[in-house]
Each structure stands twice: as structure tokens, then as C-alpha cells.
Amino acid sequence: MNIDWLSAAALAVVIILFVIIYLLQKRDVNFTYTILGALVAGVLVGIIFSGHTSWVMPIGKIYVSTLNAIVSPLIIISILSSITALKSTAQLKGIGIRSIFWLLMTTLLAILLSVGLGLTFGIGRNSYLSLNGVDAQTFENKVVPFAQVLVGFFPRNVISDIAEENIIPMILFTVLIAVSYVLVANEKQEKVLIFKNFVEAVKEIIFKAVDFIIGLTPYAVLALVVSATSNGVSRSGIIWSLLVLLLVSFLAFILDTWLINAVLIKAYAKLNPIKFFHKIIPAQIVGFSTQSSAGTLPITTGILTDKIGVDAKVANFTAPLGTTIGMPGCAGIWPVLIAIYGVHGLGIHYGLKDYILLVVISLFVSLGTAGVPGTATITTASVLTAMGLPLELIVLTIPISAIADTGRTATNITGAMVAAAIVGRQEQSLNDDIFNDIAAYEAEDDAEDEADNGVIDDVKGEAHAYAEEDVETVKSVMADKKVKVANAE
């Protein structure tokens, strides 16, 4: 038996680098930096062991498969959790419907923006993607009749839909079950409480699993980039096109965050956009650096109630919902841009109907997302699967995805806060005095009084923490705040 010693050596080097990544993670080195380091190391190892990385390649493939495996459970549990959080049909009809509508609307606008930018810049064109094991020409003439697509939206057999990764039928069925739960719970809450508890328990487990899988990303990036570089995939044409993709995605984040949201804030929340964005900067910064919508949630709700003036019942409902429904960055801009990049790079003939389908599917997928770092990878996998595009596109874009995750999270958080502000306005639950800082001093006094009573923390300290942009301080302050509120209650 002939052993390719160079392949063995490549595997050994990769394993050593895995150990280094593990040590870096143990020392809490920034996730993005770790991925970028893995990217650089992967390129170097790929060049050194060019043509001898067949033993390394399975590692990356396993990651992609595992990622794909978590998509269906995550979507189902996220939707169930989101909708069953509505405690009554009244809430479902009022805040619930409005929140879902505006969260989806912000995502829809982000999707349309991405389609416009992606087509205009022609991202992926002339890049001639060569995906490992994927023949571009098999996608070239892929045509699915629209009627068939439309029929395929609806569930036929939920088990087979899950097994076959039919994302849209899966989502529709889950929404059906979730809404049914709310209707039943409205009358016989005790009877279905066990279901709610079950959903919440599973959600915790699934989110932990997602967290674990996402935590493996640096290892996967290393293995995948080694294989890709070794096989010559990372030729200049592809590298430049990936850079353009990154640039266009950040352009989309910027336009969505500060232009489209500004119009929404002005037109529907009747607030001054500049003042609004000035107030939410701390949340955006935390989201940008932590890349976690869920992790930024305490800050998001705090700013919504204390600085924007959104009523707590709206803020505490819409903002958390925004970490599982909507997410214009992770479920709107990124998956759509990746899909268009793949369509162009693989030379697939997409017509108007196909792009409409892409918009619709992306919107549906945005119903079930998770506010954890790297969730865009999962939503992208969902969109690509639903569109019949190769998952290997994710592999190709993972390195830049780590960088884009910063902008994505900030965009998600902004979208959720804009939706909350609009819902607050429409539900007449928005205090303009707070927004206009008229009640700022009173609020501060109140906060001091409450702090004296041991109920709430020091707002001044909180503001100081924001000013210093000390993420950890902000987190700990907000955690303390929650604990104190809980104790007071």
C-alpha cells in the first residue's frame, strides 16, 4: 500500500494548527481574528502541500454536512419559539402581527436592496467558480417550472419535507402549528403549557448545538481553505470576486442600516433618523464586535426603552423576536448576495421568476433564524438548499463571511430596533419626550431613586460604559440590571 506521506504531513500540520486554534479559543481571542488567522494559515498550508490535501478535505466536508444537519431543527424550533411567545390572540393580532410584519418588511427591503446591488455590480461574474465536486455546467440550464415551485411551497408530508430539506413547506407547517398553539393556549393554556415548555427546552438545546457548530468554524475554515488553495480554487479570479462580494455586502449593510432604515424611521416611526441612529450607536457597536444579536439583546432593549422611548411591552417583545424573525443582515442581504454570486459565478441562467423566487424564499427563511454568531451561514444554507444551489458556495465564502458577520449583526440589530420603534409608534407606545431627551433628566433621577431602592443599576455608569465602548462592562452592567429587576419583582 502506497502512502502519500505529503498528505499525511499536511494532515499533521493541520492538526497542530487545530491545537493552536483551540488554545486561542481558550484564551478568548476574538472569534473573527481566529477565523482570519485560520484563513491565512490555510492558504499557506495549501500552497506548501499543493495537491496533497486529500486527507484534510474530509474535515471541511464534515463541517458543511453538520451545518446542513442543524438547519431544519433550528428553523422549526425558532419559529415555534417566536410565535408561541405570543401569550394571547390579542397580542398576536396587535403587537405580534405588527412586529412580524415590520421585521419581515425590513428584511424584504434588505433583500431587494441586495438583489439590486448584486445584479448591478454583477458580483461573481467572470469569476468562473470551480467548486470541489461541483460541475458548473450542471447548473447552467437548470429550469424549474414556476407552477411546480409554487405547489412545492406547501407541505405535503412533513416528515418527507424535513427529510428532503424542503424549507418553505417546513416553515409553513411550523407556522401553522405555532399559530394553532396560540389559539388553543388562549382558551386552555394549562393544557398546552407542556408544549410551550418543551419548545423552550428544545430551543435551548438546539441553540447550544448551533453555538457549538459555529464554534467549530475556525477549524473548518482552516481545513477548507487548505483544500481550496491546494486544488487551485483560490485563483486570482475567484479571490478578486470574493473581495468584490465583501465590498458590495458592506455597501448593502451601510445602505440598509443608514438609508433604508432612516426612511422607515422618518416615515413610519415619525422620529428624527439622525437622532435615532445617534442613540442606538452603542447597540450597533456591541453587535458589530460580538456578532451576536441575542448577546446584544439586553443593550438593545435597554436603549429602546430608556433612550428611544419605546414602551417596555413592545421593546421586550419585538426586539427578542427580531433575533429569530427578520434579521435583514443574516437572512436578507448575505444569503441573497451569496446566491447571486453563485448564479453569476456558475453561469446559471436566472430569469425574473427565479429572482422573485429567491426573494420569497429568503423572506420565508428569515422567519426562522438564530441570533448567534455565524447564523448567516445557516440561513444561507437554507436559501441555497431551497434554491437548489450548491452548498459548496458557503465553503467558498466562509472566510469573508467571518468579516461580513460584523456588519451583518449591526444591520440585524438596527433592523430590530427600527421595527420596534415603528411598532411602538403604531401601538401608541412610543414616548417622544424620552426620545427628544426632554425626560432625560427625570429618567435619570428616577433611575437614581430606583438604584437607591436596589432595583436598577446606575444609568450614569451605563452611559459611561457605552461611552468607553467597553463591551464587557456593558454586558455585566446589563446583567446586573436584570438580576436586580428580577429580585425586585
Binding site: L109, L112, L113, V115, G116, L117, G118, L119, T120, F121, G122, I123, R125, N126, S127, Y128, L129, S130, L131, V134, D135, A136, Q137, E140, G232, V233, R235, S236, G237, W240, S241, L243, V244, L247, L259, I260, V263, L264, K266, A267, Y268, K270, H344, G345, L346, G347, L352, Y355, R425, Q426, E427, Q428, S429, L430, N431, D432, D433, I434, A439, E442
Partner: protein, 408 residues
């Protein structure tokens, strides 16, 4: 003994009747199949001389048409060493058959058939043929010479040899004497009207040792030609090819085989080696299947610019694979991969070629703003639509009085 004498007479009479009644072609059809795979001019199994090197009856080679006595003259030839070349020396006439080939006819010089003329006598001093063929590639077709020669030998004057898909107009002048005078001196004009002719090749053959005595009534003048010293072929007044290597000529297919090769339309599969879209500068893997098996020198070209990609040979099952690069300067659009044999198109496969890969950031960022980006207009339309929606929303918010503003 008497009985034996009668038996001999009856047998002889029976054979005589048979030989008169049964057509000559049938006589030949029942001859033992001869096969000369090693191209030495002898049957591989029996050592019997064959009409021409490479002669293979199992593949349907016909040494002669009706009325030719090629086999019968070849078989009794006692001299084993030189007899084999006797058959190919029938090339003077055969060269007319060569002209049948679609491509430029080869010129051939064959020696060494002096001793094969024990059974034949005759002279073929000059055999010339003028031919035109539809040669496209201008390549010399050496393949057909020997086999086609035979057919023409067998059919001298009867044009049976011109069975290929390509036609030739040839005139064969040969002289010879046959002691029976059945076909002693013949002039034959061979005309094949199946194809158009573009080139003219004249074949002059001088035979210096062509004594032959025909014992069989099937002997043709061609068969009397046993030695060809020189063969000059003037192809299209510019190509003069002298071929002395009989092995080369032996590999040339018959006109029938040529027809088979050209009519066996295979299919092509063209892919980029990296699995990406085909584009200017791509490295292609061209896989062919369903072509005639064991065919050499299939030419692959990229059209419409007629760029040669290489030459391939098919294996037994008629498939081949070729890796070739297409130039970076190739214009984007539809092109064709064309398979040719001796300049004749066998099959073609359209391919869509994209422009060359963007190999700089500037090219990659500006690729959307070229006329090739058909998504530009829809993209701008979507962005403009969004902008319009935004303006409408803003205008609406100004016109409609705000509600729900609450003070603490």
C-alpha cells in the same frame, strides 16, 4: 484405373461447368478467408500470399470485383518472398483508387515484386490517372492506397474500386499483354460521381517489370503489373509525395472504412478542467464517444476561427479524450468544437464561451458595468424602485399627520 479416369473426367467436367456457370464473384466469395494482419503480404494462418498487404477478408476486404482473378492469380504464386509485393505492385492502377480517397492522394514507390510474374505476363508501362478529390485539409491520405489499389486492380475498367464516399475522376492507362487476350491491354476511364472534386492529382506509374502470363481467364491487365518502380503523384500541382514504406500504406483504410469513419457520428462532451464555466483561457477536457473505433488522426478544431486543438486516436470502443487550452483572446460567444478526419467534418459540438476571468480587483469590481452584464439594467431598476418607494413613503409621512405621539 478406368473408373478413376472416368472419375477424373467427370470431375473436371463438373469443375468446368461450375467455373462457367457460377459467377466469378461467387467463386471468390467461397475462397478461404485470407487475413494479413502483419502486413507481410501473406495470409497469417496459411502463409498463402494475399492480394495486397493488409488484405483481410474477415473485414470484408474484396480483393477484386467480379471478373477479376486476383485471388486466383495470387494464390498459385510460388515465390513466397517476393510474391507479396506483387499485389501491392498493382498500385499503378490502384493509385487510381487512391485518388478515390477524399484527401490528397499519396504517391507511392513500391519495389520488389519482380518474381511474382510467373503466372502473369503483361506490361503496364504507364498508368496514369487524373483525379480530383474533395480534399479539405490537404493532408495526404496514405491509408487507402494499398487496399483501394486492390479494388481497382480487380476492377480495372469496371470502376468497382471507386466505392468510397469520395469520388475521383481518373483515367488509367495501362498496357499489357495477356496470352489469352482477354484483358491484355486496357484503357479505363474511371469516373466517380458521388462527390465533388476540388483537387487534381495525376498519377503516373511506370512499370518496368510487368511480364505476366495469365493462366486464369480472370486475369486483368492490372494483375499483370507486378513491379512498380516509380510512382509519381502530382497532387494539385504542388504536393509531391513519395511513399516507399509499405507499412504506412497498409494502415490506410479502404474507401469503405473511410465512409464508416465519416458516417459514425460520435458525440462530444466539453468541460472546463476545473469544473467552472468555459471561458476564454479555459483548459478544456474534450471527451468523445461513439466514433469509429481504432481511428487515428482525428483532428479537433475550435471553430469558427478554425483553431487546431490537437489530434486524437479513438480506442476500440470509439472514444477519446483530449485536454486543450483555448486562448484568452477568444471572443466570448458560441463556438464549436469540430471533429475532422482528413479534413472532413465528422461531428461538432457547440460550446458557450465566456469572457476571460477577471484577474484584478479593478476588473472584478467593474465587471458589472460592462455591456456583458445583462443584470445591470434590472439591478438599477430595482434600486431605483426602492428609491422611489422611499420617496413616496417620505412624502406620505409629510402629508399625513402623525398620530400616537405620547408625552410622559
Amino acid at each position: 484405373m478406368k473408373y478413376n479416369a472416368w472419375k477424373a473426367v467427370i470431375s473436371f467436367a463438373f469443375l468446368l461447368v461450375l467455373s462457367l456457370v457460377v459467377p466469378r464473384g461467387q467463386q471468390l466469395a467461397y475462397a478461404a478467408p485470407l487475413e494479413d494482419c502483419d502486413l507481410d503480404g501473406y495470409d497469417d494462418a496459411t502463409g498463402v500470399p494475399v492480394p495486397w498487404p493488409g488484405y483481410d477478408e474477415t473485414k470484408g476486404d474484396t480483393p477484386a470485383g467480379p471478373g477479376t482473378g486476383k485471388v486466383s492469380t495470387a494464390s498459385p504464386t510460388p515465390a513466397p518472398s517476393k510474391a507479396p509485393t506483387a499485389a501491392p505492385t498493382a498500385t499503378p492502377v490502384p493509385t487510381a483508387a487512391v485518388t478515390v480517397a477524399p484527401t490528397k492522394a499519396p504517391a507511392k514507390e513500391a519495389d520488389g515484386s519482380e518474381s511474382s510474374n510467373k503466372s502473369s505476363n503483361g506490361t503496364s508501362s504507364n498508368a496514369s490517372s487524373d483525379k480530383t478529390s474533395n480534399d479539405i485539409s490537404g493532408n495526404s491520405n496514405n491509408n487507402n492506397s494499398s487496399k483501394a489499389n486492390s479494388s481497382n486492380i480487380a476492377t480495372a475498367g469496371s470502376v468497382a474500386g471507386a466505392t468510397g464516399s469520395d469520388t475521383s475522376t481518373g483515367s488509367i492507362a495501362s498496357s499489357g499483354e495477356n496470352d489469352k487476350g482477354e484483358s491484355g491491354s486496357k484503357q479505363a476511364n474511371i469516373r466517380n460521381t458521388e462527390t465533388t472534386n476540388t483537387n487534381t492529382t495525376s498519377v503516373n506509374t511506370t512499370d518496368t517489370n510487368t511480364a505476366g502470363t495469365g493462366k486464369s481467364n480472370t486475369v486483368e491487365a492490372d494483375a499483370n503489373i507486378t513491379d512498380t518502380k516509380t510512382t509519381d503523384i502530382d497532387a494539385a500541382n504542388k504536393d509531391t509525395v513519395n511513399i516507399s514504406d509499405q507499412e504506412q500504406t497498409a494502415t490506410q483504410p479502404l474507401a469503405g472504412e473511410l465512409e464508416t469513419i465519416l458516417n459514425t457520428k460520435g458525440v462530444l462532451e466539453v468541460k472546463d478542467t476545473s469544473g467552472s464555466l468555459i471561458h476564454a483561457g479555459s483548459s478544456l477536457i474534450i471527451t468523445g464517444s461513439g466514433f469509429a473505433g481504432n481511428t487515428n488522426d482525428l483532428e479537433l478544431e475550435l471553430h469558427s476561427e478554425a483553431l487546431s486543438l490537437g489530434t486524437v486516436s479513438t480506442i476500440e470502443n470509439g472514444s477519446f479524450e483530449l485536454q486543450a487550452n483555448i486562448p484568452e483572446t477568444l471572443e466570448a460567444g458560441t463556438h464549436h468544437i469540430v471533429v475532422l478526419y482528413q479534413g472532413n467534418e465528422i461531428s461538432r459540438q457547440p460550446i458557450q464561451v465566456g469572457p476571460r476571468a477577471a484577474d484584478s480587483f479593478l476588473e472584478a469590481i467593474s465587471v458589472g458595468f460592462t455591456k456583458e452584464n445583462k443584470g445591470f439594467l434590472p439591478g438599477i431598476t430595482v434600486l431605483a424602485g426602492l428609491m422611489l418607494l422611499g420617496l413616496v413613503a417620505l412624502a406620505g409621512s409629510i402629508l399625513i399627520k402623525p398620530r400616537g405621539i405620547k408625552s410622559k
